[in-house]
């Protein structure tokens, strides 16, 4: 059962991403996560929103929006990030290789890797023509 829910809407531009990060970090602390876990949530939202701005909207999202919903229940802090870009499942992309030598390293892919590693659960769905990325931190027992 959801005991708390909050929502923020930002324009799909890089300048607004820190606003979403701050909002989520605050909600995470209110949900009962510690500073380190709240930082992980903030970094995950940063990476997810940056991907949307750079790839879904190709840096032209001035008139587009990203919705971020934070939900807290008794066991979990859930963040849902929604955009209106073309269908794209970031979780279907291959993870970069952390053991790759310098000369075989490309320029991207680490954002999704961090989301997977820093969050306890991740999921993607396409709902009402929107991309919905759901990322979850379990609350301390």
């Amino acid at each position: 059962m959801i005991v708390n829910e909050s929502h923020i809407q930002i324009a799909a531009v890089l300048a607004q991403v820190p606003i979403a990060c701050e909002f989520v970090a605050r909600a995470a602390l209110q949900a009962g996560l510690d500073e380190h876990a709240a930082y992980h949530c903030q970094l995950a939202v940063d990476e997810a929103c940056t991907n949307i701005v750079e790839h879904a909207y190709r840096m032209h999202g001035e008139n587009q929006i990203i919705d971020i919903v934070c939900q807290t229940d008794n066991q979990r802090f859930t963040i849902i990030i929604m955009d209106d870009g073309p269908a794209f499942n970031p979780l279907a992309q291959p993870d970069p290789d952390p053991t790759a030598p310098l000369d075989r390293r490309g320029s991207g892919g680490w954002g999704i890797h961090f989301i997977r590693k820093f969050m306890d659960e991740v999921g993607y769905s396409r709902e009402a023509n929107r991309n919905c990325l759901t990322i979850i931190k379990r609350l301390p027992a």
Binding site: D97, P98, T99, R105, H113
Partner: protein
Amino acid sequence: MNINVTERDRVTLVEAHGRIDSMNAHELGEALMHEIDSGHVHLVLDLANVDYMSSAGLREIVFALKKVRGSGDLRLSQPSPRVLEVLEMAGLDTIFQIFPSQVEAVGSY
């Protein structure tokens, strides 16, 4: 983010302050590239005052390292536990030389 660049014993010390994210990571990349293009190839990036670095920051320092390796190096000093965590997560702790102090990083050249 603020960036200060100083020369110390033929080593270029780049000190970053604040949050490095997709908004400003290119500024760090440009500062490092400017030094490399100016022939300053013994670089130390001090991260003592960086409390947050997203993958955008990692992308810039990897790009700079690729550019400078061969003629010099980009070494890191004093990453905070949070920054070290992302470096380790990306396997960059084995690619960059990382030092616990500025003095050790500068002295390593």
